[in-house]
């Protein structure tokens, strides 16, 4: 989303999407008409015309999500099902492409991972969910980034063994409901979802319409992603918006929310040159995979785990009030360039500027003093812990769920 939002300027008219003329065939989601009716400012994003903000504006949308519940259309993202004869067969096929332990993913559980290239660089990041239904043993649901979906699905399909196939789910819409009131709101339509632990998923129904709900998101808040047939998207969108606690949230606030939560944006904070270790995503490479390898780039990942990476993704808090945007040079106190900001801006809940970027590993320790070169001036900053704003994921007490 930063491609569109960071480059929009005062010169651009509100009613026309900048750059739209050069992209004649922008796709739309099933909720496009709903966004326009709400007065959204529509911009091109990843080949789709998407709402960057509604009339209330990015700041209010961001704060509303943290205080109540925000509704996001993320139907542009890529949904697909990976299907094999049984879980072990499907999991092993996917494990040849990603560094996460998929084999030991329990039914109804979800995991974050990355598609890696042979050099251990990240082709995309994705969510993998194992179906909870016994009849669907061997089915994994994949959700990938919109801008990468065609390449991702081609990449996966070309590398599957006999008996495992990938089925795109382009007929499905995806909406996210995020924030402290998300659980009570959604439970009015989907019975029992308030009891689901973070990173779990189930088939359920929304006011009688079949849907797939996972307790996850991209904001750092408690919340859900709801996958539903495109034909039913408007019905659930409208039903959720009728709730006084819920407001629609555009891509602008989605970006500031995920930045405060310390979450990576593909193509910015992670790309084909960054490894999961450099990106500080080693938590997503489970022990068995670290030991056994068997995924693209495993040698690099193992080596970086053992010896430490040469550079590392860190959180950065500027001392002053000026935001440092993507591309800002990061300098050591002696003026030497040691890295680059990959995402940066203003955190509405933090009440100040924040950034993330890559620095030489020796500068990655928390509290390390740095300078950010903003408009030719060195602005003092420090390496800071992420998330910048505490996560509020729902994890029930041990024993009540796996």
């Amino acid at each position: 989303m930063a491609e569109t939002t960071a480059e929009s300027s005062a010169e651009q008219p509100a009613t026309e999407a900048p750059g739209a003329a050069a992209e004649p065939a922008l796709k739309t989601t099933p909720l496009h008409g709903a966004h326009v009716a709400l007065g959204a400012r529509m911009v091109p994003f990843a080949g789709y015309e998407m709402p960057v903000q509604y009339p209330t504006g990015v700041l209010a949308e961001h704060l509303h999500t943290r205080a109540s519940a925000g509704l996001f259309d993320v139907s542009h993202m890529g949904q697909a099902f990976l299907m094999g004869g049984d879980h072990a067969t499907t999991a092993k096929a996917l494990e040849t492409l990603v560094p996460a332990d998929i084999l030991n993913l329990a039914p109804g559980r979800q995991r974050y991972t990355q598609l890696l290239n042979e050099e251990g660089g990240i082709l995309d990041d994705l969510m993998v969910t194992r179906s909870v239904e016994e009849a669907e043993d061997g089915v994994l649901m994949l959700i990938v980034n919109a801008a990468c979906k065609d390449q991702d699905f081609a990449h996966i399909a070309a590398r599957l063994p006999q008996g495992v196939r990938l089925m795109r789910a382009d007929h499905r819409a995806l909406v996210a409901l995020q924030g402290p009131k998300a659980a009570e709101v959604l439970a009015r339509h989907c019975e029992g979802v308030n009891e689901m632990p973070f990173m779990s998923a189930r088939q359920t129904s929304f006011d009688g319409l079949a849907c797939h709900v996972s307790r996850s998101g991209y904001t750092g808040e408690d919340g859900y992603e709801i996958s539903i047939k495109s034909a039913h998207a408007v019905a659930i969108w409208s039903a959720l918006l009728r709730d006084g606690a819920v407001k629609p949230i555009g891509l602008g606030a989605r970006d500031s929310l995920r930045l405060e939560a310390g979450l990576c944006l593909y193509g910015h904070d992670i790309d084909t040159t960054t490894s999961p270790v450099e990106a500080a995503l080693t938590w997503s490479v489970q022990k068995r995979r670290r030991e056994e390898g068997g995924f693209p780039g495993a040698e690099r990942v193992k080596r970086e785990l053992a010896e430490g990476p040469s550079r590392k993704r860190v959180g950065i808090l500027p001392d002053g009030k000026a935001p440092a945007r993507e591309g800002t040079e990061i300098q050591a106190k002696d003026g030497r360039k040691i890295g680059t900001v990959t995402s940066g801006g203003f955190g509405p809940s933090l009440g100040g500027p924040l950034a993330m970027g890559y620095v030489e590993a020796s500068f990655a320790a928390l509290g390390t003093e740095l300078d950010l070169l903003v408009r030719g001036k060195q602005l003092p900053a420090k390496v800071a812990a992420m998330p910048f704003v505490a996560n509020r994921y729902f994890r029930p007490p041990a024993g009540s769920a796996s």
Partner: protein, 125 residues
């Protein structure tokens, strides 16, 4: 008696004698969205017409504010540091950025009048 003119970059400049008050237009603030940071020049800085004079950042983006006229910066609106949203609330009033002591009034005279600026905005949509 003051007179206000406008630029194609959506700055306004209000002239009182040889003192020009500069800010961004209502159109500009609405396009930017919520302003979260304003970077102001040092007092005494010499600015030239069309050159960088200040910076305004919304949640989404950073934009330059250009000097509509050449001269010397003689005052800046320090209130904006603590309350940048004033730019959204009252762009033509309390949300002013800086004051310039004007060198050449002809530069001011050549800028767009309010009516011309409104016509110009129509060509953008």
């Amino acid at each position: 008696m003051s007179d206000t003119k406008f630029t194609k970059d959506h700055e306004y400049v209000r002239l009182d004698g040889d003192m020009a008050t500069v800010g961004i237009t209502d159109h500009a603030q609405s396009q930017l969205g919520d302003v979260v940071y304003v970077g102001l020049p040092e007092i005494g800085k010499a600015v030239t017409q069309g050159g960088e004079a200040a910076v305004v950042e919304s949640v989404k983006a950073a934009s330059d504010v250009f000097a509509p006229v050449s001269g010397e910066v003689v005052a800046v609106n320090g209130e904006l540091e603590g309350a940048p949203s004033t730019v959204n609330e009252d762009p033509l009033g309390k949300g002013w950025f800086l004051k310039i002591k004007v060198k050449d009034k002809a530069e001011f005279d050549a800028l767009m009048s309010e009516a011309e600026y409104q016509e110009y905005l129509k060509t953008l949509s």
